[in-house]
Assembly symmetry: C2
Homo-oligomer: 229 residues x 2
Amino acid sequence: MLTQTAIRNVSQRDPATQPRRVPVPGAAMQTGTIELMGACMPFAANAEIYGENEPADYLYKVVSGTVRTYKVLVDGRRQIGAFHLPGDIFGFETGDEHAFSAEAITDCKIIVIKRRTVMALAARDNDVARQMWELTARELRRVQEHSLVLIKSAEERVAGFLLEMADRVPSSGVVELPMSRQDIADYLGLTIETVSRTLKHLENAAAIEVSKRRRILLRNRSALRRLNA
Amino acid sequence: MLTQTAIRNVSQRDPATQPRRVPVPGAAMQTGTIELMGACMPFAANAEIYGENEPADYLYKVVSGTVRTYKVLVDGRRQIGAFHLPGDIFGFETGDEHAFSAEAITDCKIIVIKRRTVMALAARDNDVARQMWELTARELRRVQEHSLVLIKSAEERVAGFLLEMADRVPSSGVVELPMSRQDIADYLGLTIETVSRTLKHLENAAAIEVSKRRRILLRNRSALRRLNA
DNA sequence: CGACCATTTGATATGGATCAAGCGATGTGG
DNA sequence: CCACATCGCTTGATCCATATCAAATGGTCG
């Protein structure tokens, strides 16, 4: 259990991309007020959005693209805590410093909101405060749910992951994965080899079909659900 | 990975113990206002406090004793999500239903607060709303931190657990564990045998000393911290 | 077309699970 | 107050799922 994943990229925030005040249209307006307060910023694939222990001055909302939040242990093992898809708000873990690091997996557009702005608003408008509580609670539930992988087999983990992704991008039947096998492995606490072999397993069992490497067809969801334990 | 832990007790909430309006003194008053709103209730060791999927009408604050929150998979595997010690508030996972079950590990006294009361108060007093957000965020961070066990070895898990417990009950040097080996195992995603062997390992390495089975002396914290990865 | 990188596939090793006794503390009844 | 039963825990032997090590393959992009 010593090596899991070496640190693979030490990308930096692109200094050229400064926040621009941009009215952001449509794009998942779950939390109405929020996006009006921020600037929309592009991030290139693999760019760092923020690092662990940096002051947590901003909140982030994904407009397009996918983000991973993760921690890296001293010896290089990496645990991905979450994938964030369009519409998701992240970076509100709590407190003064970020507990995790965040990177763009693909090219992303992300609304960046000053935390102070939100806090100030929350102090006046307790509807906003409630909304923030709500969001944090939802995230808590997600992480608690994810912590069950600890007691699951490789097959259960992968099946569960596919179902989770399918639920989040409801393009019934096909799951287009934005992340690499390594990302999946680090999210599930497995190795890429095991992820690969398990996908093949599921394919042999006629539960899925791996059409392009990152495009997966769910052939038999109830089989997957059964495996999800 | 099929059997981990069968369901071991199906204890019921003692119907004799009705909530009594009791002013609760001292005992960890971190969140001032909260405890004034609730009733203090005793729970016997192994009594159920609430079950998964029950309506989440209450919040809970531990006055004395220890509580475990957990989920059980269909086949009986159990994952303990948290241990709650005196002063801790739990049961605010979110939403309408509890995501986890909660049981008293030892005899407990617990303040039970109607969620609606808190919500109503939060709607008027946004300081309360902020406090709830704060608490939820703290819990989120704790769970995120715990999710790192996924990539840790047995030794790292156990060492980390001991340090965590030592931090929470700052009785410098000795850790009095209220929970069984099985509870520890289910919290760390290990078996009791592995927990036992690992404790022996740590003892042989002069990092700890197991004096009574549930009393552990931390002989060398920096060694433990080194193992914690 | 060629090089590179992500992924798959294969062979082997191993940490922790499982199976199976032992053991010691706690409690019970005689 | 002591023999005995019980329960929680430890210890030992063996097994297995997944990690690790090592190539082979194939897709992508210049």
